[in-house]
């Protein structure tokens, strides 16, 4: 069973019920919810997610609004410094400030051949840990690939598409 990340003790210990087609129904602290004010791109109406740990480097972003909607993600910090100067300060809803902490998540596409599994480095997800708000950002940069291979790390992603 997946485990909630960043579990925090809330004074009022409020919980919220997660209904997931993969993991069943369970309670998590309400404080672990991540809100995406605009949703993920292509999924604008599903705005609340929780992070669930999985094995290895993979985590789940599970929608609270749609039980069958979940993304597999990995840590974007692994991609080195390519996002260093690209934190989405322009997003007023995430409200990034200089002393905030944040996570970068990359959405993974699973292929039947595991060696073909890819991550989308062109459109990473930033989560501001202070307000637990997230945004998926698109970088208009041909060096960033929507299908970055996780199995043959290149020095630089080759523009493929």
């Amino acid at each position: 069973m997946a485990k909630v990340m960043e579990e925090r003790v809330m004074p009022d210990s409020a919980t919220i019920t997660v209904k997931s087609s993969r993991f069943g129904e369970f309670e998590v602290p309400a404080s672990t919810v991540i809100e995406f004010p605009r949703g993920m791109i292509g999924f604008p109406n599903q705005r609340r997610y929780i992070m669930l740990e999985h094995k290895g480097p993979f985590c789940w972003l599970q929608s609270l609004d749609e039980p069958s909607l979940a993304f597999v993600v990995i840590d974007g910090m692994e991609m080195g410094d390519r996002y260093d100067r690209k934190i989405p300060f322009a997003d007023p809803q995430c409200d990034f400030r200089g002393d905030d902490e944040f996570a970068i998540l990359l959405i993974v596409t699973v292929r039947q051949d595991p060696t073909q599994t890819t991550a989308n480095v062109k459109a990473p997800v930033f989560v501001n840990m202070r307000n637990r708000r997230g945004v998926q950002v698109i970088y208009d940069d041909p060096n960033l690939d929507t299908r970055y291979s996780l199995f043959t790390p290149q020095e630089e992603a080759e523009p493929k598409s």
């Binding site: 990340m5 087609s21 993969r22 993920m40 791109i41 292509g42 999924f43 999985h54 094995k55 290895g56 480097p57 993979f58 985590c59 069958s68 979940a70 993304f71 597999v72 993600v73 990995i74 840590d75 910090m77 692994e78 260093d84 100067r85 690209k86 934190i87 989405p88 300060f89 322009a90 997003d91 007023p92 809803q93 990034f96 400030r97 200089g98 002393d99 905030d100 902490e101 944040f102 996570a103 970068i104 959405i107 596409t109 699973v110 292929r111 039947q112 595991p114 599994t117 989308n120 062109k122 459109a123 945004v135 950002v137 698109i138 970088y139 208009d140 940069d141 041909p142 929507t146 996780l150």
Partner: protein, 120 residues
């Protein structure tokens, strides 16, 4: 679709907050300036559609009830669960940065020179 004719230098308003200006016409290319609140991400359409379909493909790529870890072998052990970084540590001059139009960019954003979340 509403179609209006504009000359270079002329603008359109969409609601109270968005202004679109035809900056320059050069051959078969039009340079367009967009002034909009930061809450409006602005993307070239083909890139937006590319990400939209990448997201949908990612969701669809995980079969219902599938054991994802077994589908992805252990070769990825070098990667770990997401870590938390601090904005200031990773990016000292954080606040003033937003960049970022590549040279060839035909969409220009007025105002503070950044185009919403998509371009920051």
């Amino acid at each position: 679709m509403l179609i209006l004719t504009r000359k270079p230098g002329e603008s359109l308003r969409i609601g109270d907050d968005v202004r679109i200006t035809v900056v320059e016409i050069k051959g078969n290319q039009v340079r367009i300036g967009i002034a909009a609140p930061r809450s409006f991400p602005i993307y070239r359409e083909e890139i937006y559609l590319q990400i939209q379909s990448a997201n949908k493909e990612a969701v669809a790529s995980i079969p219902e009830g599938a054991d994802v870890p077994s589908m992805m072998s252990a070769e990825l052990n070098g990667l770990r669960s997401p870590r938390i970084a601090s904005v200031s540590r990773r990016m000292p001059q954080a606040r003033q940065t937003p960049v970022v139009h590549d040279e060839s960019k035909k969409i220009k954003v007025d105002g503070e020179g950044d185009g919403g979340a998509g371009d920051a």
